[in-house]
């Protein structure tokens, strides 16, 4: 659970370590959840106050809790985010950029977006200390899982004040094009 007072204190560009439970989500997972809600049924997990992790891990080797487990691109979830926010989601861990209306949707929902480093699968898999399939096991790597993570590194990209670190960082480092 992400407490309101915790998420309000986060500001874009801040480096954080996440410890606690994350609910995994992928394209197929998000579609299943939306279809379930649209048919008037109860979701297989209560998303109130939850933080999602956009990830489809590789299979665990013997002795591993999960295989490689880095973030996937958040842009593909734009269509699902308003529904997920209505269902209570208050944070997303993923990678990649968001621009335009969806940024204010985070602010309106009181939610934050944290980016993990893309392509860090081997290291990030080690920060998952427990994993449990909650729903849709037939989706394989897209099954809905509950991950318990410890000291999982991330950077705040979209904060509750509407800050968007990818935009400010790029503007700061951009040099004029000389062609």
């Amino acid at each position: 659970m992400l407490e309101d007072r915790t998420s309000l204190a986060l500001s874009a560009g801040e480096e954080v370590r996440v410890s606690g439970e994350l609910i995994t989500i992928r394209d197929a997972t998000a579609k299943r959840l939306l279809d379930i809600a649209a048919s008037g049924q109860t979701l297989p997990v209560d998303l109130t106050g939850r933080v999602l992790y956009a990830v489809g891990p590789s299979p665990a080797k013997p002795g591993q809790i999960v295989g490689s487990a880095g973030p996937t691109t958040i842009e593909r979830f734009i269509a699902y985010l308003p529904f997920l926010f209505r269902s209570g989601v208050r944070g997303v861990v993923a990678k990649g950029e968001l621009h335009g209306d969806i940024v204010s949707a985070f602010r309106d929902a009181g939610a934050v977006y944290l980016a993990a480093i893309g392509g860090l699968g081997a290291l990030l898999g080690k920060q998952v200390v427990a994993a449990e399939i909650v729903a849709f096991p037939e989706l394989g790597p897209e099954a809905l899982q509950k991950f318990t993570v410890r000291d999982f590194p991330a950077v705040v990209i979209i904060d509750r004040q509407g800050g968007n670190f990818h935009e400010t960082a790029r503007a700061r480092w951009r040099r004029s094009q000389s062609s």
Partner: protein
């Protein structure tokens, strides 16, 4: 005439696929190490240090560097004097992809039917490109193309009047638009000329070319250098967190085209750009 059993393709594809996913190419790892020193932004340097550490740990512990083992792309270059026996070349390579995915604990990231999003048994697990060359030589290249970067690739059919300025702008804008989504620092493969599909294949071959080799033609090498500088001036930086290293390299391939056309394809590779290649 040289005779080779297709079983060699199955075994080699499986082995190269696992290798590619556990150990990134040495030219890319050394470029990342250099970038981790050269990057001017603090968060960018830290990010690159994490990335290098991920690759060191993956190799030492034999783990997939990334959960997205991508679509396996196989390039088979076979001499015209080679006689393949023992079955279908295509099925032998597909069997190798399936074996490597399973042996290496790699995620099967391919869906058989792109519209229905279902995978019927026996559907192709990867993409193969064939080149017939002179002689008896064979070269097999196996790449894992993650879709964070693949999704940000682009192709445009320019008019000759648009000229090289428009081509350059298109390449730079494609990397700018890709931003953090493509997992920078990226490797940029550019295909200029040919036809619609030839430009795309040139871009794929360009992105898979070692990044410590510039194009042998001086004017193409100069174009690569100019594009790299412009891309690194974008400020995207490692993972889009801001900085001076957005791309590690720009590789360009050029081919004759129609008098009425100027096709340009940009294929983006993430910072692992997994590939292995072997002569058989």
């Amino acid at each position: 005439m040289r005779t080779i059993d297709v079983q060699v393709l199955t075994d080699t594809t499986a082995r190269l696929l696992v290798d590619a996913n556990y150990r990134i190419p040495p030219d890319i790892l050394s470029a990342l190490r250099a970038a981790a020193l050269a990057e001017e932004s603090d968060i960018g340097r830290q990010t690159l240090a994490h990335v290098v550490r991920n690759y060191e740990v993956a190799e030492a512990e034999q783990l997939p560097v990334c959960q997205d083992s991508g679509v396996t792309v196989v390039l088979l270059e076979t001499g015209q004097d080679v006689h393949w026996t023992g079955g279908s070349i295509e099925q032998a390579i597909f069997a190798g992809i399936r074996q490597g995915t399973s042996n290496g604990y790699l995620r099967m990231s391919v869906v058989g039917d792109p519209l229905a999003r279902l995978t019927p048994a026996g559907s192709p697990p990867g993409v193969i490109h064939y080149d017939i060359v002179d002689g008896e030589g064979v070269r097999l290249t196996v790449a894992s193309k993650g879709f964070g970067a693949e999704n940000m690739s682009a192709l445009r059919m320019f008019a000759p009047a648009d000229g090289s300025g428009a081509v350059k702008d298109f390449v730079v804008e494609t990397v700018d638009r890709a931003g953090a989504n493509a997992c920078p620092p990226v490797i940029v493969g550019v295909g200029v000329g040919g036809t619609f599909e030839k430009a795309a294949l040139l871009a794929k071959k360009a992105v898979l070319r070692p990044i410590d080799q510039r194009h042998p033609r001086a004017e193409t090498a100069a174009l690569e250098a100019e594009l790299l500088k412009r891309i690194n001036d974008l400020g995207v930086g490692p993972q889009g967190l801001g900085g001076t290293v957005t791309a590690l390299a720009v590789n360009v391939e050029v081919y004759p085209t129609h008098i009425a056309g100027l096709p340009v394809a940009v294929n983006i590779g993430c910072h692992s750009n997994r590939r292995t290649s072997i002569a058989l």
